[in-house]
């Protein structure tokens, strides 16, 4: 169908992605791409396959069929570690932080700075503390004490720290999976600010949500997923907030856009 050729300018190009869990076909030939320094809103109702698509990209699930290009090269992402190596950082909906660990330890989890004493490697705690404060302050998150446990903080603060960490470590692509679903209005606004900060840092962002209101303000483009298929890509200039909301609910492209979309596809 469309986009069979690899798109040379895109940072991520996922072509014809299929993912079956046993006999359940969750993704049935989805094409998805992210350009450089672009914020993409990945939208769809619950169960549409947004999270599965992202988990394929971040190595949590292996794909059944399809090809992923990252930075122009065909890649084979088999574990979260591989995705990290490529420069993809993800803030998962439910698996962001360890509540009983301190902020500094959470921040550096999986890639702790160490110093060597003979054959032993010890955590560089002073650097862990100072650097995590500094890094979080850079994206506008101010914490009191890096030794405070994450469990004592509010949902918004935790989400901020998870995003701050992803922005700090992310080199190319930042994926936010439903980052605003449990947040207050003020906290949501903060998350949107961090998203823009990441874009200004030169990263691309995939912002997954089922609530268009949370992302319309910052996204450059919307990709709507509907029951395992892609409904379409829409630049912000083309559509209104309400049209996007309608599409997510009804799963149909409005009359006005359908023609335009077909032209864009080139059929």
């Amino acid at each position: 169908m469309q986009y069979q050729e690899k798109n040379p300018d895109a940072l991520v190009d996922m072509i014809d992605i299929h993912k079956y869990f046993g006999s359940v076909q969750v993704l049935r030939g989805v094409d998805f791409h992210v350009d450089r320094q672009e914020i993409v809103g990945l939208l769809g109702d619950n169960g549409a396959g947004k999270s599965t698509l992202i988990k394929v990209l971040t190595g949590f699930h292996s794909l059944t069929r399809g090809q992923i290009y990252f930075d122009g090269d065909a890649v084979n992402i088999e574990s979260p570690h591989d995705a990290r190596e490529l420069g993809i950082e993800t803030v998962h909906q439910d698996l962001a932080l360890v509540p009983l660990m301190s902020i500094a330890r959470n921040f550096w989890l999986g890639q702790e700075p160490t110093y060597e004493v003979g054959p032993f490697r010890f955590l560089d705690k002073r650097m862990m503390a100072s650097e995590s404060i500094q890094a979080l302050a850079d994206v506008g998150i101010h914490i009191r004490d890096p030794e405070e446990t994450v469990g004592t903080m509010s949902g918004g603060e935790r989400q901020s720290i998870a995003i701050g960490r992803a922005v700090y470590f992310g080199k190319k692509l930042l994926i936010l999976d439903e980052p605003t679903s449990a947040l207050s209005v003020g906290e949501t606004q903060k998350v949107l600010d961090y998203t823009i900060a990441a874009k200004e840092k030169g990263m691309s962002v995939i912002f997954i949500t089922h609530n268009i209101r949370h992302v319309y303000e910052v996204a450059d483009r919307f990709t709507i997923i509907e029951r395992g298929h892609k409904l379409g890509d829409f630049y912000k200039s083309e559509v209104s907030e309400n049209e996007v909301a309608d599409m997510i609910v009804t799963g149909e492209i409005p009359e006005r856009l359908r023609l335009y979309d077909e032209e864009a596809v080139g059929d």
């Binding site: 660990m101 702790e112 490697r121």
Partner: protein, 704 residues
């Protein structure tokens, strides 16, 4: 009220003056205590086993004297602060009153605990009560109760006199400014009722003590310390006013910003906040409480031989508890350690006596290493089973608990015991050259030097930093800085002591006849009595009393605790253990290989269990088929008392150490006070629940 006083308002005057007055009284009291101790009028701890520095004061007396002087100084400072209406003095007075209440409470407890113990034993041993009557000694008891009644009358009189004195003392103070002061005592009748109730309670307790004191008739109960009832009055006199004063000061929490800052940190809050930082808070409190209780209950507890005996008893289990803590932090636990211990001990014994399959009969050290590899394999089986099948670790290790036990049951047929002595007449000995000890002491010196090089400058810098910003840290800035200097000094002194000891060892062995080998028992190297290692037992040059059973395993245990603590807190492996137990999904998402961490922890538990098995076998060279049975739950109990969460993600190695120490103290202490050892398991059960409740409580205060 207080802050009204400090703001020079009218209505707070009475309470303010009262507290100022109490503080000045306490300052005088502190000075008096120091003076009395210094002049030898107030002997503390007449027991023989408290080391005396010279013919003069003993250690306790010196400590109390210094503390009393400091205390008087602080009280005077607080009084002055209150006098000049300095807001920070509120906090000072809080602390002083808090400490005073604690002191009084401890004095009270030192009477109440032995009395309670004696009383419970009295109730429990009804047979002896009958014997009592037979021997016509009931008369003595009733006489004692009669004496008690007389003394309660005297006491009531004394207390009334004291109350009157108190009432008479306040008005002159108050009349200076205002006549309102009398209301404090008279107006609310609630206080009067309280006072009467307290007097009655004191009377009843006093009678009880007098009664029990006069009945020292039980053969098994004589080990409980004699009750010194004169302390109860002193304790009450210190405890109640201080508690009352503390409650008065603590209530202040109103408008003025400066004042709110001054009172924000009440001692209770401060201590809770400090404790909440550590996962083993419950264990720390429990350790102090149980240690104090046993010290107060019996004279036999604080003796080197008792302490050495309980340390030796729990050292092997403590080693396993370290591993179980690791495993529990990563969200799993291991029921099979007891069986692994049995299998390892059996393999160790078999390798030495009947020989291993390929290599034949082995010397103890290779046999120990091979046996530990057997344990490692068993642990790896546990871990791999868990990861590949996804069955909960409870089921997996319950299965292996039974399966591994079958190995020892099958290998040692008919319930006999495999004894080393059945094969060889003598325990194996190894010839060790003095040069090895010389080298070891040099390595030790180098290690100390390296540690000092890394740690001391950091400590000094911290102290200097605290000193340079002491004025920014409020009233406690200076004392905080002093505390840091003291910590630096203590570490320095400990290091110096180790250096002196190592130099002595070095000197002894280098001057000994070179080249000639010294014979040491192999088993003694693993877990021998420190004093009997080597020909004259002075290999280690340690100054330990002869009757103290200090085993080498204690040393190994402490080394393991330090080693595994550093790994847990200071490496990325330790970080991934916490993450694996705290939130598996998050750990995976951050690239931690959770499965590998869990298998590694199962292996660590098994290896430590293997090491413990070697210690146990070395202490008593023989294996029976049920060796280690029941250890798994004891070790889990130690870990849980130490603050680890069964659900994972929380815990500490130091906590496991404290848990094991609590366990050992109970085991030894209950016997020492004369309570039947059958009550031990029940006591441990209560302690576990209490410790977990305490841990949850302290952690809860951290969340707020």
């Amino acid at each position: 009220m207080m802050q009204a006083y400090l703001e020079n308002k009218h209505e707070g005057r009475n309470i303010g003056l009262l507290i100022t007055f109490i503080m000045s009284g306490l300052a005088v009291l502190g000075l008096l205590v120091a003076l009395m101790v210094a002049l030898g009028w107030m002997p503390l701890g007449e027991r023989d086993n408290i080391p005396r520095w010279s013919e003069g004061l003993n250690v306790y007396e010196n400590i109390v004297m210094i503390a009393a002087l400091l205390y008087a100084l602080c009280c005077a400072r607080a009084t002055y602060g209150l006098y000049i209406r300095e807001s920070a003095s509120l906090r000072w007075s809080q602390w002083m009153l808090f400490v005073t209440a604690m002191l009084g409470g401890v004095i009270l407890l030192s009477v109440v605990i032995p009395v309670g113990l004696k009383f419970s034993l009295l109730l429990g041993q009804n047979i002896d009560l009958r014997a009592l009557i037979n021997e016509n000694q009931l008369a003595a008891a009733s006489l004692a109760i009669g004496e008690g009644l007389i003394s309660i009358c005297l006491l009531v009189l004394a207390l009334l006199a004291l109350l009157a004195l108190f009432v008479f003392l306040i008005p002159p103070l108050e009349v200076l400014r205002h006549t309102e002061g009398i209301r404090l005592i008279v107006a609310p009748p609630r206080r009067l009722i309280q006072a009467i109730l307290i007097v009655f309670a004191v009377g009843i307790v006093f009678m009880l003590i007098a009664g029990i004191y006069a009945v020292p008739l039980y053969p098994g109960v004589t080990k409980i310390r004699d009750v010194e009832e004169h302390r109860i009055l002193a304790g009450l006199l210190i405890f109640l006013p201080a508690l009352y004063g503390y409650r008065q000061v603590r209530q202040v929490r109103e408008e003025s910003d400066e004042l709110r800052r001054a009172v924000a940190l009440t001692p209770g809050k401060f201590i809770r906040a400090e404790l909440a930082k550590s996962p083993s808070a419950g264990a720390i409190i429990g350790f102090i409480a149980i240690f104090m209780a046993f010290t107060m209950a019996t004279d036999l507890f604080l003796e080197p031989s008792s302490i050495a005996s309980f340390l030796s008893n729990v050292a092997t289990k403590g080693v396993i508890a370290i591993g179980v803590t690791y495993l529990m932090i990563s969200g799993e636990f291991d029921l099979s350690v007891g069986s692994i211990l049995g299998v390892t001990a059996l393999s160790f014994m078999l390798f030495m006596t009947e020989g291993a399959p390929v290599v034949g009969v082995l010397d103890p050290i290779p046999a120990a290493i091979l046996a530990i590899f057997v344990a490692l394999a068993l642990g790896a089986v546990n871990g791999i089973l868990l990861i590949t099948t996804g069955i909960p670790s409870f089921i997996v290790t319950l299965g292996t608990l039974l399966a591994y036990r079958a190995i020892t049951l099958v290998a040692i047929a008919g319930g006999r015991i495999l004894r080393y002595k059945d094969f060889y007449a003598d325990f194996p000995v190894i010839g060790i050259s003095n040069i090895i000890f010389v080298v070891l002491s040099v390595i030790g010196l180098l290690l100390v030097a390296f540690t000092g090089y890394r740690v001391l400058p950091v400590l000094w810098r911290l102290a200097a930093q605290a000193w340079s910003i002491r004025s920014d840290n409020g009233d406690f800035g200076t004392s905080g800085a002093i505390v840091r200097f003291v910590i630096f000094l203590v570490v320095l002194l400990i290091m110096a002591a180790i250096v002196v000891w190592l130099v002595a060892v070095f000197g002894y062995h280098i001057s000994a006849s070179g080249g000639q080998l010294v014979e040491v028992g192999y088993f003694d190297l693993f877990n021998g009595r420190v004093l009997s290692i080597g020909s004259e037992g002075d290999f280690f040059h340690l100054d330990i009393p002869r009757d103290a059973n200090v085993r080498l395993a204690i040393l190994w245990w402490f080394i393991f605790v330090v080693f595994f603590h550093v790994i847990l807190m200071n490496t990325s492996f330790g970080n991934s253990i916490f993450a694996a137990g705290g939130n598996q999904g998050a750990a995976r998402a951050q690239g931690v290989n959770v499965d590998r961490v869990k298998v590694q922890n199962f292996v660590i538990v098994a290896v430590l269990t293997g090491i413990a098995a070697i210690y146990e076998t070395a202490r008593n060279p023989g294996v029976d088929p049920l060796k280690g049975q029941g250890w798994e739950l004891e070790v889990i109990a130690m870990t849980v008392i130490g603050g680890a969460l069964l659900t994972g993600g929380y815990g500490s190695v130091v906590g496991s150490l404290l848990g094991a120490l609590i366990f050992g103290m109970l085991q030894t202490g209950l016997v020492l006070v004369g309570i039947e050892s059958r009550l031990f398991t029940g006591t441990v059960g209560v302690i576990i629940i209490a410790a977990v409740v305490l841990n949850t409580f302290v952690r809860g205060s951290q969340q707020n």
